[in-house]
Symmetry: C2
Subunit: 506 residues, 2 copies
């Protein structure tokens, strides 16, 4: 097995156990790990690091591509092993540690982390842990189910630990396309001209002298949690398909649209499924995460090519895809996240971006990250990279949350991740607001009319009318703009509570 | 004169008066005009249109590159000739009409207007008015002191009126570099690899059959209002020069830094002047507007090349520069604004972006546009194009406004144009906050400590501490976050008013 997976034979001597690898870490180190939306993450070494931290306390900075699987973020947070985390996470325990202030978190555009590291905006990476299928004769590595920031980590880290995952079939080799735009001031173009462009090499080059250990694992990626499609998400998907059908009829787009990007979450997955029942053909994807729905579209023949930075699918799909990956070999490419999310490429290809909002306001500003303006959910992820630079930026959201006590269309969002400039279309189960070419006051009317839940429409309209009476380009009543959150805190609902009830509570 | 300026001789028959040109416009038309930060704008036809509107009411949509000179926006607003305005303006009268709701305004990233027009996000342009030095034999035109969106307008408009400005010397010919990345889905790379790259042609191609009139003018551009440098702006400039000196010492940057961008406003101009007294050499600029300070830097030899979309200078500089433009011919290039502000190029070159904020909050979110979250000032301009994609994004602002009654560092900005992700450094006269690699709670400490005015520091600190006690990744007290604006409305100051005084007023 070792000789099969380590083709540069002198490196075989570096094979160690996860516990031995964990011993390399020291307090205050900056640690980088492969992993992007639960795919291709470190499965053995980070867990061993958490084990060690329980006995021998230490705290490190942890930088990844995006989220980790197997509850690793939670295990590390529970072991109090993390002082600073970036650029994204989706873990309940880690989230709690971040919101309590125990773990500092830097929420970053996923396309920018590599740039910021190269610009010396962070301390140097001490150790990078990179999951790989194998080490080639030239010492370069073949990544697994994600590329994420691994190529940048390999270039920038002082020392490297490789996790060879024997569970990942060799057939995945060739799906990766590793390219670096170079360093300032001599960066060059990223010559991608369509989703299928291959511009780099199949492996991540690295200086094997940096390798301090090689660990073997055989653990699959965590499966994606795919919520079953429900009526609400199906309706949202239909609104979007109808919208594109009309755009094609108008001659604004052809029947193969432009490359699609879809964010994480059940709504985004449902929306992509919606395209299965559409008349579109020859679709392509230029996205971050290739999900179950991507493979449905490829299988159906409706999609011809999908570019991403990771493959994150549910268990059934995992079996299906990796059983015979050769079917997908020429239909998929996995890229570094500074390429999959590059402003340059997203704008050039004219990507159609579909992301999920926690809440939107009446002027079309979007909050993707902060519950009630304060508590971090996951992070902005790639939503900003895509929303800003896309041909069309669509945000989807259910109109309410938590049993209708929360309206996800509010007078003013409690935190802004995407400004109105970067939001073209908002869709809820109640309808689609096409905001293109509209000024703020017009946007408000369309959003309230098409997207708000009926129980909140009158209050939104009242706020907007009273704000307009006071005036301004973007009319607001600042003293009242956040009163819905105060209501929620005090009365458990954003719905107007009758005067009597308020008195009683007070 | 006509034969000198109209080299395609059969077009000479199309020469008309401004009043005749004004007669072409009809109610509800979409009109586009050249002009970027007061340079190269329509001087005769738009004014004639305003005259006509007074007698024969009509309302049009007006799209430009950026702001117009000669009070034209105000003249048009006074004549009630505008229903919708985009993407930027700086006029007192127009601003009032926008904030009252009489004129609808779409505030846009200046790098995106051309993309949005090409993506059919707006109705078709009926008539474009383009200022030119001359019409070449092949029918293409040489723009004047700005390029702005003129090349896109020429391609997209149904009909075209040319304003030949005989005041602009022929020597400016050759300074323009017109390039289009093409149309979806076949857009290609913008092959600029440094500020001085020339990638296109010297003139704007157009279909001369679209020309419905040619008007002659001899009116200079409006001069830039340059506020005299004062102690406050000089101190801000010194903080920035000191910061870069340290970055060079650390080896993060070379002595020629990376290409500079500087926004509009007196602070930005003062900051560029600050580089005159620095030890940096071989500086370049990749910006939008070339201001007085750009020419000082070129004259001093400290700057070797400047790329922009317009030349907007004060009267003295105007004389100096255009008297013998040959000195600058190989040191300057003027580009279309979708190229000067292209995300692709800004990121590739690693531009250092310096823009002005109306206000910043303790977490580093920036408001560039909305006074008290409501009233439009000018527009986001190019600040978002640069802040998002730059190597370093710096925002400068005085710590207070209006006689210290307003703190420009606030608990939560009343409108977000640039999220914390896109803001690396904030500078006021009190100091520089280097936010790179910091999480929100750390950012707050540094911003309050280094940037806030002493009179507001204790209140900011109190807000932050109390918010932290409640918890969260980005601690806020939503019920109090905007109380400073309410104070300002009620008591004329953001400073805490003693209880007694409040009682008295209430
Ligand atoms: C925004 C985001 C959290 C939505 O995820 P989702 O799974 O589709 O959203 P849901 O509607 O199921 O909401 C998730 C949870 O937040 C709660 N929630 C949603 N909106 C809320 C609001 N405005 N206030 C409070 N809670 C809210 C929901 O009730 C739900 O909690 P529950 O499961 O306990 O009921 C997710 O898309 C995200 O993290 N986006 C940012 C990153 C990104 O966009 N990446 C895209 C490129 S990868
Ligand atoms: C933000 C911007 C308006 C600042 O301009 P400036 O001239 O440097 O700013 P000043 O500090 O002189 O402030 C301008 C006015 O706003 C007022 N002001 C500033 N901050 C304020 C605040 N927070 N609340 C209320 N008024 C404020 C000032 O008092 C001043 O008014 P006055 O002249 O009547 O006293 C200007 O830079 C801008 O429009 N930026 C957005 C576009 C942009 O950044 N383009 C960059 C690429 S071109």
């Amino acid at each position: 097995m070792i000789t099969e997976r380590i083709l540069k034979s002198e490196l075989a001597a570096k094979v160690i156990t996860p516990a031995q690898a964990a011993a390399f870490f020291k307090d205050k180190m900056v640690v980088a790990s492969s992993g992007f939306t639960k795919a291709g993450d470190s499965k053995a070494v980070l867990t061993a690091l958490a084990e060690r931290a329980k006995l021998d306390p230490l705290k490190v900075t942890l930088i990844t591509g995006a989220s980790l699987g197997h509850g690793t973020d939670g295990i590390l947070a529970d072991a109090h092993a993390i002082s600073l985390r970036l650029p994204f996470q989706v873990d309940t325990i880690m989230r709690r540690a971040i919101n309590s202030g125990e773990v500092l978190f830097i929420d970053q555009h996923l396309g920018e982390t590599a740039n910021l590291l190269k610009a010396n905006n962070f301390p140097k990476i001490d150790i990078a842990i990179l999951e790989a299928i194998c080490i080639e004769q030239d010492g370069s590595i073949v990544p697994t189910t994600s590329v994420g920031n691994s190529a940048s980590f390999a270039a920038l880290a002082d020392k490297i630990i490789i996790e060879i995952n024997t569970e990942i079939p060799f057939s995945l080799k060739g799906v990766h396309d590793i390219f670096s735009p170079g360093d300032y001031p001599d960066r060059r173009e990223i010559p991608i001209v369509n989703a299928a462009s291959r511009i780099g090499q199949g492996t991540i080059p690295l200086d094997t002298d940096k390798i301090i250990g090689i660990v073997f694992t055989n653990i699959k990626d965590s499966p994606a949690d795919i919520a079953p499609q429900d009526e609400v998400t199906a309706v949202i998907a239909r609104h979007i398909v109808d919208f594109f059908t009309t755009e094609v009829e108008k001659g604004n787009l052809t029947n193969s649209l432009l490359p699609l990007q879809a964010g994480i979450g059940k709504v985004a997955n449902a929306v992509l499924r919606g395209f299965l029942e559409s008349d579109f053909e020859g679709l392509t994807m230029y996205s971050e995460v290739l999900q179950d729905s991507t493979f449905d579209l490829l299988d159906s023949g409706k999609m011809t090519f999908a570019s991403g930075s990771s493959i994150t699918v549910s268990s059934d799909y995992y079996e299906h895809i990796f059983n015979d990956f050769s079917i997908y070999k020429d239909k998929i490419v996995l890229r570094p996240q500074d390429i999959s999310n590059a402003a340059e490429v997203i704008r050039r290809l004219g990507v159609i971006a579909i992301n999920t909002a926690l809440e939107c306001d009446i002027y079309g500003n979007v909050n993707s990250t902060h519950i009630a303006g304060t508590n971090m959910m996951n992070g902005i992820g790639g939503s900003g990279d895509f929303a800003r630079n896309s041909y069309l930026s669509i945000f989807v959201t259910q109109s309410v949350a938590k049993n209708e006590t929360i309206s996800r269309i509010v007078p003013m969002v409690s935190h802004v991740d995407h400004t109105e400039h970067d939001v073209d279309i908002i869709v809820t189960e109640h309808g689609l607001a096409d905001l293109r070419g509209l000024a703020p006051r017009q946007r408000a009317e369309v959003i309230i009319e098409h997207c708000a839940h009926p129980d909140y429409k009158a209050e939104l309209k009242s706020y907007f009318d009273r704000a307009c009476a006071r005036g301004g380009h973007t009319p607001h009543l600042l003293e009242e703009a956040f009163s819905w959150y105060t209501s929620l805190r005090q009365h458990g609902t954003m719905k107007p509570v009758s005067a009597e009830k308020v008195e009683f509570r007070a």
